[in-house]
Symmetry: D3
Subunit: 235 residues, 6 copies
Amino acid sequence: MKLLVINPNTSDSMTRVIDQAARRYALPQTELVTLHLSRGPASIEGYLDAVVAAEATLELLLAHRADYDAFIIACFSAHGLHAAREQLEAPVFGIGEAAMLLACTLGHHFSVLTQPARSKPAVEEVIRGYGLWQRCASVRTVEMSVLALGDDAAATLANFTEAGRRAIEEDGAEVLVLGCAGLAGIDKALERALGVPVLDGVACAVKLAEACVGYGLRTSKAGGFAPPEPGTRAR
Amino acid sequence: MKLLVINPNTSDSMTRVIDQAARRYALPQTELVTLHLSRGPASIEGYLDAVVAAEATLELLLAHRADYDAFIIACFSAHGLHAAREQLEAPVFGIGEAAMLLACTLGHHFSVLTQPARSKPAVEEVIRGYGLWQRCASVRTVEMSVLALGDDAAATLANFTEAGRRAIEEDGAEVLVLGCAGLAGIDKALERALGVPVLDGVACAVKLAEACVGYGLRTSKAGGFAPPEPGTRAR
Amino acid sequence: MKLLVINPNTSDSMTRVIDQAARRYALPQTELVTLHLSRGPASIEGYLDAVVAAEATLELLLAHRADYDAFIIACFSAHGLHAAREQLEAPVFGIGEAAMLLACTLGHHFSVLTQPARSKPAVEEVIRGYGLWQRCASVRTVEMSVLALGDDAAATLANFTEAGRRAIEEDGAEVLVLGCAGLAGIDKALERALGVPVLDGVACAVKLAEACVGYGLRTSKAGGFAPPEPGTRAR
Amino acid sequence: MKLLVINPNTSDSMTRVIDQAARRYALPQTELVTLHLSRGPASIEGYLDAVVAAEATLELLLAHRADYDAFIIACFSAHGLHAAREQLEAPVFGIGEAAMLLACTLGHHFSVLTQPARSKPAVEEVIRGYGLWQRCASVRTVEMSVLALGDDAAATLANFTEAGRRAIEEDGAEVLVLGCAGLAGIDKALERALGVPVLDGVACAVKLAEACVGYGLRTSKAGGFAPPEPGTRAR
Amino acid sequence: MKLLVINPNTSDSMTRVIDQAARRYALPQTELVTLHLSRGPASIEGYLDAVVAAEATLELLLAHRADYDAFIIACFSAHGLHAAREQLEAPVFGIGEAAMLLACTLGHHFSVLTQPARSKPAVEEVIRGYGLWQRCASVRTVEMSVLALGDDAAATLANFTEAGRRAIEEDGAEVLVLGCAGLAGIDKALERALGVPVLDGVACAVKLAEACVGYGLRTSKAGGFAPPEPGTRAR
Amino acid sequence: MKLLVINPNTSDSMTRVIDQAARRYALPQTELVTLHLSRGPASIEGYLDAVVAAEATLELLLAHRADYDAFIIACFSAHGLHAAREQLEAPVFGIGEAAMLLACTLGHHFSVLTQPARSKPAVEEVIRGYGLWQRCASVRTVEMSVLALGDDAAATLANFTEAGRRAIEEDGAEVLVLGCAGLAGIDKALERALGVPVLDGVACAVKLAEACVGYGLRTSKAGGFAPPEPGTRAR
């Protein structure tokens, strides 16, 4: 099975973090490639970045559409996911979606830990969009930019440990979901610190992709992801 | 008050339809400009078109950000609306949002009439995203492409009259909302045929923009639409 | 356009506050009259007051039904709104409804600020009734009676500023909605103090009425607001 | 135990129907009085009738507040119920509420059968207001006015049998709730015809009142039903 | 009327508490028997206990099916309730269900007080299952095991008074529901301490059973509680 | 990885069907054992069967708790799943849950196809319990008993093809989920007939178990699945 992981920004360092997380739990039989965007934001810090990243992500996906059995958009909110599913028959996974779906099998409620504070309503909207609101205990945010995550690993771990502790104690979270691909490395450290399952979406998406491809599943073409009539695009 | 209406595709004919609908009910004191994209799809026929249109829409909005008091994205789903609100302080309106909000004051439940059939789950997701699901009687679709709407006006009217009739009789709709900017011209003809209010989102968004600007309202910058830290964009 | 604003109580001072708020942002072409009840409560402090006010409000509306293009019930909960829509073809607006609908275009979530504490479940029920619960961050109350609002302007502003601050910081409100017509004067002072849009429902309802009349919209008569068979009323 | 049943209209014949239904299943130890309004509509055929009836119902309730242990408002929608609970400490019951609460113990989903067709959204709003929407299979309506119910008993039974049959077969109803006090007599005939429990709200409210009084329950005064500060009422 | 109350565990002391609570408010004409399981857990402290108790409860119910007019499963979560309704025509009540349904008539929102903390998501799931989530202010837990409830009555009352106080002040509860049959004795003491209605489910279920039997209601056999085809059971 | 699949009934033939479905898509490195109950129903045809099966399932799971890395309860409704998660640290999966979670990644809405008609509300309750109602287009039932599924393969396929066709055309299903372990064999035949993904829960649960074990995930012990204090069980 060949799997393409797209980091929907231009950051080399974040791409490395994602690639490592993707490989760590992949099956031996999974051939995995991680690519980043050649244009677009260095990190998705807001809604505009997401719009720009979505288009570039789609370009990259379409350029490689024939070469892989499944695709992952390695951003919690996975901008462009619906468009990817419309364009491709091979299954496509968002990392937030993958982590939240697996979290549903491990506890009654999960919390999403993310950053910065400003992103909270956007993340909540994503969770509602997946129809998983009832299973969500809370979205807890840390006031750091996405790009700052890698700069001070100790501060990142401390901040997210505190956010996770409050999610467990105050919000009733039984499982924690990392709300950003840039956090991909800290799942097991956080798990040791807090004593609950901590799910990194990159790992989850890889495992879910292997599961779906292993069972021969492909995106449905019977409804909203049917390919539209080819239009007249003036670019 | 200066108002920019963006038709988020490259079609001249649809831009004319939108511009006429926008002007028909505008206040005398409203200066109104309608622009279309210089790149992007000729019509938004699916999710990929929407992704491409969103980025081009944002470019156009940002290029004109200093020149207008309010902005309208003339597509039912208004792709890029959140990004526009994040980037601007002046209010920004989607036409589907505007029509559904006004519809809430005229009857218990509205139905959205749109096309093609494939777009139904996408439109439903938009309605849920606005938090207006409880007020929605149904989404009724007609099997026509967006670009075909203008080709045969009689067939368009007949098809949507039938869809509207079923929404009223079978789904309990008391108000109808046109689910595509390309339908902008047919509101009053449909209203005469069916005897219920029929809301064109372009007209609604113009009136809502006048209302908000008249009361001095601007997009909140206190939460999810706060401007993000400027990132490092490699384009 | 002729617009009748009804203050559904017998207080002269509250009527003046409402009238001023209504005129402040009205279009030049809007002819606006504000009337109060000739019988009923001096203020709506609870459910019984609301029942009494609703009947008197309907009497007043019906007495003036032929003379105006649109009607406003200047109480957050707008008791009798459905009956008014049933009886009239001209559009009728509640001020809470109007403010919450406009708030939806300015931020992800709004909070309603109202008083007294006892009214919280009633206000929540109104928000649910409009189908806007998903967009509501919280209802924050201040322990003052409606009639006391005008007695000490500084205390009123201080109390509501504190309630608004907590709504923003603790509940994630991006927009604030004033939950009582008696608060009509303090919108812009509160906005300056808190840095987020603060919406007075009286102003919002005037602008929404102008918007709907400007677009030629009238209440739907196809379903729940169809006029009932004339009964035999023994009064 | 002394129980006051209020028929919130001025119809003698409907009062007799309600009184008979109330007595049929009452405990021997229950002293039961049924009164109708001295002013107000002959039947509640729409929203305006409901507003007028609510005020007259409250007057009647308050005039008799000291004389009974519990009160019933014998209208499905029970206009004025919240005001009655605010004003009284003795428990107050609506007949729709009572029937739907008991229905929840007899099957997964109930349907409400009512008339006329126009009342459907009003009834749905009442069900949502009680928070019982998840348990409701459907609201099925028959096109008859309330006053016409008594005129042709055979037609009434036939019409509601057909509505009930469709609720069971098409909507998955396991229990039927009569949606109008005027239907009080037909519960057992409908039950025999359709083979599912058919709940008349008048009987249900009597039994629920006996249950609550028997356990010594009274309306909570700790929140939304706390008595408001006495205002200055100009009547 | 003959009523069987089943305590779904093997504890003699809890059975006595339940039996006393059941008799305290029963009608004189109600013949009431309380039985406990002959096998199964001494108390239901978690999900496994509930599974074991459910089967033994059903055995007991089926052994006595011909002898009673109604049945009560005296556990908040009433494990096996659906199976009992499927097997019997006589009505069956859970005590949590009964208390929450009656609570709906006494205030806008109720809170459930239960123990231990670990049981919170299970209790929330039960409330959602009954479709009563909208009416629930909160589930507040005390960290005591079920069996410990009877050991120190003063500590039990103090702990639940504190939990109830926070439910009222912080969560907006107007009514309190005891979340465990083992709490059956403390309703009135808690009511005196907190000033709001406190509902013991055992008493509520007895009154609801009397109400339903008095009106001749039986479980619907038209849908989900229809008896299945007899299978081939190998035991 | 060692995986135990439990068929929660005593049927040999259904166990063979399940075992084949489980093996068909399992990884080579997965050691898989399928066991059936030694006591309990031959098939789960209703709520009572489910109660009996749940206890026997738990006994079997606990007897083998030390020997496997993950467990599957091969029944759509997976009775006893919460108890299994409470008792074990290794992850446990229900087949309905697994299929619906994977279905969420392949289309906007899924329908569940099951039998008999009577089971519809039970299946709907399971879907709501998982919090996946928003993603469910419908539950479509066929009037066959569980045990009859294997008797006439052609009739089974024809019946479910028709149910699936209606789910797609009338309800908007994009993905189909088989609602009974007894249907495990027909996924790919149905997929060919209908042109949309058809998910057998047995296969899905195997793949999900491999995914979770591969990533090192275990059931959370921080909340509702924490092991209870050992009680005093009298059996």
